[in-house]
């Protein structure tokens, strides 16, 4: 998509909706208009290769953990594009990392599908989280903001307890928050950094799921965000990639453990997705500029494109799906 097309789309969008989410000074990665359907339908027919901006992307860097609101182009989390149809009516969901990226896209989509949503995020991510809370409330759903540090066991337990209290129950747990800091030389990887990745990506899901389990009734589900890194690890993501392999693995063991209880456990394996994780130390500048270029669809994915997978796995639509990993890798495909 050229910048001209992009600004055109944005104008169209603002005209159609009256007002954007925030006065975005930056380019927004809005989806292209559908070709076949002139009016706004639930089913735009859109070329996936040109649906969103393509690389090269502008080089950019933010201090960890980064804000979606400061990215250029701004990621699309479905703020204006996602339309629900009651597929999660009455569900109560906890989503970690719900302020930005896939977690934010899932939070918006869940609310539009009729669910009440609690989100966890790191305290400095408050500006992004505020937007999500407002978007959930705009759907007439409960929105519970729960900031904290997932590396702390006490916070993880408190997170679940507060979500249960705030939502009046829990039947969907999306373990999505992740720490990714690239490091090209193992000799430069500190014990502290390694430990932070393990705590966030492996211990936190363990603490959260363990606390939630006694409250999950048959029909509930757990969805974990894994990654293409689980099976095709990058040289500079030694610590992150192995946590994603562990995630893929725990999805399968817990599916077997919880299946007989009527609780489904699945994973989502994204490819290159345009989110703050990448601009706040998750990728090198060169990698970021060419993000997704080598994939068959020749672009990075937007978080909004993953939202419906989190919906699909949470909804009754996935009633026979457990222990499975659904990939969204821009055409590369899981092995």
């Amino acid at each position: 998509m050229s910048s001209e097309q992009n600004s055109l789309s944005r104008r169209t969008l603002v005209t159609r909706l009256g007002a954007g989410i925030t006065g975005a000074a930056l380019t927004r990665a809005v989806p292209m208009e559908g070709q076949a359907s002139g009016n706004a339908t639930a089913a735009p027919f859109v070329d996936p290769t040109t649906k969103y901006p393509k690389p090269p992307y502008p080089g950019q860097s933010q201090p960890w953990p980064g804000l979606a609101s400061k990215m250029n182009p701004r990621p699309d989390h479905g703020e204006t594009s996602y339309k629900g149809s009651g597929r999660l009516a009455g569900r109560k969901a906890l989503i970690t990392g719900g302020d930005s990226g896939m977690g934010r896209a899932a939070a918006i989509a869940y609310a539009r599908e009729g669910a009440d949503v609690a989100i966890s995020y790191y305290p400095t991510e408050e500006p992004d989280a505020r937007e999500v809370i407002e978007l959930i409330k705009a759907e007439g759903r409960k929105a519970i903001p729960l900031p904290g540090d997932l590396r702390q066991e006490s916070y993880c337990k408190e997170l679940v307890t507060k979500a249960l209290a705030g939502l009046g129950g829990l039947d969907v747990v999306v373990s999505n928050a992740g720490r990714q800091q690239q490091c090209e030389d193992l000799l430069q990887l500190t014990t502290e950094a390694f430990d932070a990745t393990m705590k966030t990506n492996i211990y936190a899901p363990f603490w959260i799921i363990k606390t939630a389990l006694p409250h999950l009734k048959p029909g509930s589900c757990i969805i974990a965000t894994t990654s293409e890194q689980a099976y095709d690890p990058a040289a500079n993501l030694y610590d992150y990639a192995q946590t994603k392999a562990a995630t893929m693995n725990f999805v399968k063991s817990l599916a077997k453990q919880f299946g007989p209880k009527g609780i489904r456990v699945n994973g989502v394996a994204p490819g290159p997705i345009w989110s703050p994780l990448q601009v706040s130390g998750g990728a090198t500048q060169d990698h970021l500029i060419h993000f997704g270029e080598t994939y068959p669809l020749r672009r990075a994915g937007q978080p909004a494109e993953l939202a419906s997978i989190y919906v699909q796995l949470a909804a009754n639509d996935a009633s026979y799906t457990t222990g499975n990993i659904y990939g969204a890798g821009g055409g590369a495909g899981q092995p």
Binding site: Q35, A36, S37, T41, A42, A43, F45, V46, D47, P48, T49, T50, K51, S85, G86, R87, L88, A89, G90, R91, G114, P218, G219, C221, K252, A255, K256, G259, P260, G262, R264, P296, L297, R298, G301, Q302, E305, L306, S308, I309, Q312, A315, N316, D317, A318, S319, Y320, T321, T322, G323, N324, Y326, G327, A328, G329, G330, G331, G333, Q334, P335
Partner: protein
């Protein structure tokens, strides 16, 4: 149905009554009856105005996919074998009841000429092909390799692999950017049964072809994916499996039951829709807890 039903209770559980059917079998003789979504599935316009070609659309997964797609707003060209006409006639009615068009066009998908005709019919009747569902499949269980004739082995590959290739080849050049091809793989790709040597091998070939085709079709803006079902309650079961297997079918899944065809159709809907715009070259499993790879 509540929005979060217990997955163990979504469909009937074994033991199932003794029953046997001649291949390819009919949904009418299945006991208990399978759920193809005629009543249970609710659409939301997710495939509004799409044109879909679905093979094996008369029964089982293909039948449920045809009904779900129609309920989501698609018009359907239905492929099936001439002897499956009675089952196909129900599907035509079900699609018409959704206010959508159904073009029944029977034939053998193992014939390249027929695959081209299917695409021609879609182009002539609707002017486009937006979604192709390669679903028709042949399987037969055998206890000994000596029982598998050369003809049957070849027929299995001709229907499952060649059929998928023929229709994909005929349709791909006619499809617009935004189109989707969905193949039908199986848990057999990852965990082949000793009784299904030919069938399991065809499914592995289809899974592989899904990935190469995804790379080839990406430049044209067309996504290619597959669904890998676990045990699904269809006429294929009593018409190709021994009685004792039919009786306990699906018991070894984590939910203690086989899937109903409509549960698979929902995965096809997702992959066909614009919701899956970054999903290509993927195999989405719905296996009741059997965890491939």
């Amino acid at each position: 149905m509540p929005s979060n039903p217990d997955p163990r209770e979504v469909g009937p559980k074994p033991p199932f009554p003794e029953q046997s059917q001649h291949h390819p079998g009919s949904v009418h003789e299945l006991r208990p009856q399978a759920d193809h979504g005629e009543k249970s599935y609710q659409g939301a316009g997710r495939l509004e105005g799409r044109i879909a070609i679905i093979t094996g659309a008369d029964s089982g997964i293909g039948r449920a996919v045809a009904i779900a797609f129609a309920k989501e707003g698609a018009n359907i060209v239905m492929s099936y074998l001439p002897e499956e006409e009675p089952d196909a006639a129900d599907v035509v009615t079900a699609i018409k009841n959704c206010g959508r068009k159904a073009i029944p066009f029977p034939g053998d998908i193992g014939s390249p000429g027929y695959a081209r005709e299917l695409v021609d019919v879609a182009m002539k009747e609707f002017g486009s092909v937006d979604i192709v569902v390669n679903n028709a499949g042949f399987q037969m269980t055998h206890q000994k390799i000596e029982e598998i004739s050369e003809e049957e082995f070849e027929h299995t590959f001709r229907t499952n692999v060649f059929g998928t290739f023929f229709l994909t080849k005929a349709a791909l050049t006619k499809m617009r950017p935004g189109g989707a091809i969905i193949n039908t793989a199986s848990i057999q790709v990852y965990e082949p049964s000793k009784e299904l040597i030919a069938y399991a091998a065809t499914k592995a070939a289809i899974a592989n072809m899904t990935k190469s085709l995804a790379k080839l079709a990406a430049d044209a803006g067309i996504r290619v994916n597959a669904v890998a079902p676990g045990p699904v309650w269809t006429p294929l079961i009593p018409s190709t499996m021994p009685q004792e297997k039919v009786k306990t079918f699906g018991q070894n899944s984590l939910f203690g039951r086989p899937a109903q065809p409509i549960e698979m159709a929902k995965v096809f809907v997702f992959l066909a829709s614009a919701d899956a715009s970054y999903v290509s070259g993927e195999i989405f499993s719905a296996t009741g807890g059997r965890t491939p790879l």
